[in-house]
Amino acid sequence: MLNSIDPKSAVPIYLQIIGQIRRQVAAGVLAPGDQLPSVRELAAQLIINPNTAARVYRDLERDGLLETRRGQGTYISPTAAALAESERKSLVSERMAEAVGEARSLGLSDDAILKLFRDALARRQG
């Protein structure tokens, strides 16, 4: 279910896994009520430090994406469906922020940036 991680990446491992789970929730691959592996299973499956696996779940639980049922395991929370919509937007807005940052640093005007976005949208519509 989870993609493998890239330990050589500069992105910390826990953030890589959090990113993958968020994307899967946003895309509906993971739905409310779906059970996730235990911390131990996750650590053994991905071969990562158990503390890193625990941190992934702690952070996602704090953000309301996961819930831990005592003695039963970790599940995608019922509120995740509502979050999925905002997840989709926030994932795209992060990418857009990067693109805008890049465009600004290359000295493009706001009008030029907007035009590029419209062109990109138009190309995809065909």
Binding site: P7, R40, A43, I47, I48, S105
Partner: protein, 319 residues
């Protein structure tokens, strides 16, 4: 020194290993140079460094296989030298190409080891051997290199050690055996208060499973922190300055690279304020995350370049 030792003793609950200015000489070579290390209980601590940095000497001191020339240390609350027998009972140790009794079968080896300890968990031993298809009736000498390491690991965790020392245990293993060793290490960690100290060369493996790292070069421990802290503090800064003058680089910057319109360097004390202090009109300042490998190389370079006090004459290490 003795006052120091007493202070440490009262905090032993937090650390599986504490050393104070641990030093070991082999003839004229300083193999360990005043190493003060702290390995937190419950952590997987990666001790990294090039060949000959002193990693194995450090492990052998912890096991009291060799005596320190000076300095002291405690292992699981026991004095490294005076109470080494008590400490050894709670330690599991796997070394690269570890000598095993070649003529024994895996079962005989496990039974022999079981006899050395008051408690023994045969299920834990089986849990390592069965998934990789090692038959208890196999003779040690018939095992592949990866299987040998797994057999050594299996008998090293049978007495459920509180501290597992893996000294270059992954070096030279095929990818499948390496993964299997790592998977078992993660499994060992599942019990409360287990600690793993691992030395090795494969930085990607270290990055996967370690939460604490120590960097050792020429016998000196020149960095020790959590992996997260290391990655938060060591960053690459890139400044693009197409129109303006060359920017000032902090005095302690590492691997400074200057081009006509671009400057890059590594800092070890990164803060957001640093990026702001470098900002100027016509400049673009960017912070880049570094992988553990890049971090290690950048931090190690000045250590390698520094003139060491010990001559590099090869000295035979007593076996």
């Amino acid at each position: 020194m003795s006052a120091d030792a007493i202070t440490t003793e009262s905090h032993l609950g937090d650390y599986a290993v504490v050393t104070h200015t641990l030093t070991r000489r082999f003839g004229r070579k300083l193999a360990l140079d005043s190493v003060s290390a702290r390995v937190s209980v419950g952590s997987i601590y990666g001790l990294m460094g090039p060949n000959g940095a002193g990693k194995t000497t450090f492990i052998r001191c912890l096991l009291n296989l060799i005596n320190p020339t000076s300095g002291s240390g405690t292992v699981l609350g026991h004095d490294m030298v005076r109470d080494s027998v008590a400490a050894r009972r709670k330690i599991g140790h796997v070394a690269a190409l570890q000598p095993l009794w070649e003529w024994m079968t895996v079962r005989e080896l496990a039974n022999f080891m079981a006899g050395c300890y008051p408690r023994w968990n045969q299920d834990a031993v089986k849990a390592v051997l069965s998934p990789v298809g090692i038959d208890p009736n196999d003779k040690i000498q018939e095992l592949s290199r990866g299987q040998r390491t797994l057999a050594a690991l299996a008998v090293a965790i049978g007495h459920q050690p509180e501290l597992l020392l893996l000294d270059e245990a992954l070096t030279g293993l095929d990818p499948i055996s390496r993964r299997e060793v790592l998977r078992n290490v993660i499994d060992v960690m599942h019990a409360e208060n287990r600690t793993v100290l691992i030395t090795g060369q494969d930085i990607a493996d270290m990055e996967r499973i370690c939460d604490h790292v120590g960097f050792l070069i020429k016998g000196r421990l020149f960095w020790e922190s959590t992996l997260d802290d290391l990655k938060a503090r060591v960053k690459r800064i890139r400044i693009e300055h197409p129109g303006g003058p060359q920017p000032q680089v902090p005095a302690n910057a590492l691997r400074v690279e200057r081009a006509a319109r671009e400057t890059e360097f590594t800092v070890t004390d990164f803060t957001r304020d640093l990026v702001e202090s470098l900002a100027a009109p016509g400049r673009r300042v960017e912070m880049l995350d570094l992988s553990l490998e890049d971090i290690f190389v950048d931090l190690a370079q000045p250590q390698l370049a520094a003139a060491g006090p010990a001559p590099d004459a090869p000295v035979k290490v007593p076996a």
